[in-house]
Structure formats: C-alpha cells, structure tokens
Symmetry: C2
C-alpha cells in the first residue's frame, strides 16, 4: 500500500457521497416546494456556516490536501456556487482534480514537510502523514458531516449509509 | 512511518477533543440550569441518535477499529452511560485502550484482511487500509462531528478548533 492509497480514495468516497446527499436534498426541496436557497442557507446555529459553505469547505480540504501533500500548486476554486447544480458541479470538478493525481506524486509524501496556514497570520509545518491525519482529514469530515447534519435537521431523508456512499 | 502512525493518533486526537467538548457542554448546562439529561438526549432530528449515543458510537469505532485491524479480541463496552461524567469516563477508558496497542501489532495490518459486520446478518471483508479509510474512520468522524453539531445546535459555545483539539 502506498500513501496515495491512504489519501485519495478517502477524499473520493466522501466527495461522491456529498453529490448523492445534495441530489436527495434537491429532490426534497422540489417535492416540498422549499426554496433551494433556504435549504442551502440553513445552519445548525446562527453563527455557524450554512450548508453551501460546508460543501465548499469540504471541497477545499480535499483539493488543497492533495495539492499540499504533493507540493503542487494550490487549485483556485472561488466560492461562487449558489444552487444545488452549481455545488454538485463544484464537487464533480473537485473529484476530477483529486483523480488527476498519480500515485508517484505521493511517494514519500508522508515523511515530507507540509507548510499550511494555521490562522490569519501564521503557518504551521507538519510531516505529510501528520498533516493528513491531524488537519486535512478531520477538517474534511467535519464539513462533510456538518453538511449531512444540516440536511438531516431540515428533514431530508438521508442517513449514515448515504454519508458513507453505501446507498 | 508505520500504519500505527496513520491509525492511532487520529483516534486519540478526537477522543481527547470529545472529552473537551463534553466538559464545555456540561459547564453550559450548569450555567444555564439545563438538565444534563436533556442535552445528552438531544438529537438533530427525531429519528437520529441522541448525543450520548453519538459519543458511545465514536468510542466504539475507535476501540473496535484498533481491535479489528490488529486481529485482537473486541473490547466490551456496554452502553450504560447516562451522565456527562460517565461519558467522559467512557472516552478516557477508550483512550487507555487505544493507547495500549503497540506499533508492532499494526505491522503489515494495512494489507491483511479484516472481516466486520456490515448489517444485521452479513459481514464484509476488506484489506486493513481500506477498512480503516472507507469504514472505520469515516464512521468515527461521523459520530464525533454529529456530537459536535448537536451540542452546537443547543447553544454550547464550541467550534471547529475545539473539535480539532486546538483549544
């Protein structure tokens, strides 16, 4: 097993399942005549980020995680999405980007330094494995699961099997 | 880097941060005179699991993940916790259990078969890396993040930095 096998499939599994969750949420809005913008603007608490931003951040942590681990140029994805369709396209674009990496690019990456922003005016440097396990992946799952929680809280009929991509 | 380094620190980081989240939720209940049982019984939707069960499941996925990856006997932790204190003890016990594993026990585990229950009457077999990345870790983060979401939705002043263990 290579480090690539520890990194890339984990991001792809969840990016794909997020497309499935958004598809069910979109259908739920259509069936109940709910303004899609209301669902995408929903939050679990007023000072938390809304559903649309949770999706954008999950996308960012996957794409930038791969870029930082392979010392590639960071992808630029401005957060302009306002509809379910645009958010699903953002996820599809992120999937294509993550799939564009080759296993060779991750060779030895677990032991190489990764420097990343850790707040507005400071950076942190960790070994690749530690950056992946302690920073990138928990952030990625945090936003993916919070997106699931917002949709679930709003009555979308989804569950952990959808989250895991098993449905 | 060994497979141990990819597995054990990830579980420990979040088990520790869950203790921190529960400590803040407990203080919030005391300050606002909220019955702790109400907070621990809160859900994001009526057919979702309550906060106490999200913590128990996060504990289970960490402990059983380590056991299954090392082909050890599964630990028995009956879900009897009813208070913040008992749930924090459950997490502390899980941390001790996860810490009891030695790196040697994980040697080669990424390529060994792991058989685990995948529903009430069937099992699934995956290689260790795949079991960890596609099943154990996403389930673990799912329950940890959902626990965070329930507390956050109920007004506990926590955020992603607490979730990541940075506070």
């Amino acid at each position: 097993m290579s480090f690539y096998d520890a990194v890339v499939p984990a991001y792809l599994q969840m990016l794909n399942s997020l497309i499935g969750l958004l598809t069910k949420a979109e259908a739920h809005c259509a069936a109940r005549k709910i303004d899609p913008g209301v669902m995408l603007g929903s939050r679990l608490f007023p000072d938390m980020l809304p559903l649309s931003k949770q999706i954008q951040l999950a996308s960012d942590f996957a794409a930038k995680g791969c870029a930082r681990l392979t010392h590639s140029e960071l992808p630029s994805m401005p957060d302009t999405e306002k509809t379910f369709e645009e958010l699903k396209q953002r996820l599809a674009k992120t999937i294509d980007y993550v799939k564009s990496f080759k296993p060779e690019q991750f060779a030895g990456a677990e032991a190489k330094d990764v420097t990343f922003p850790a707040g507005p005016d400071r950076t942190m440097t960790l070994k690749g494995q530690q950056f992946f396990s302690a920073v990138s992946l928990p952030n990625f799952y945090f936003h993916a699961t919070t997106a699931h929680g917002i949709m679930r809280h709003n009555g979308v009929e989804i569950g952990k099997r959808d989250f895991l991509g098993a449905n």
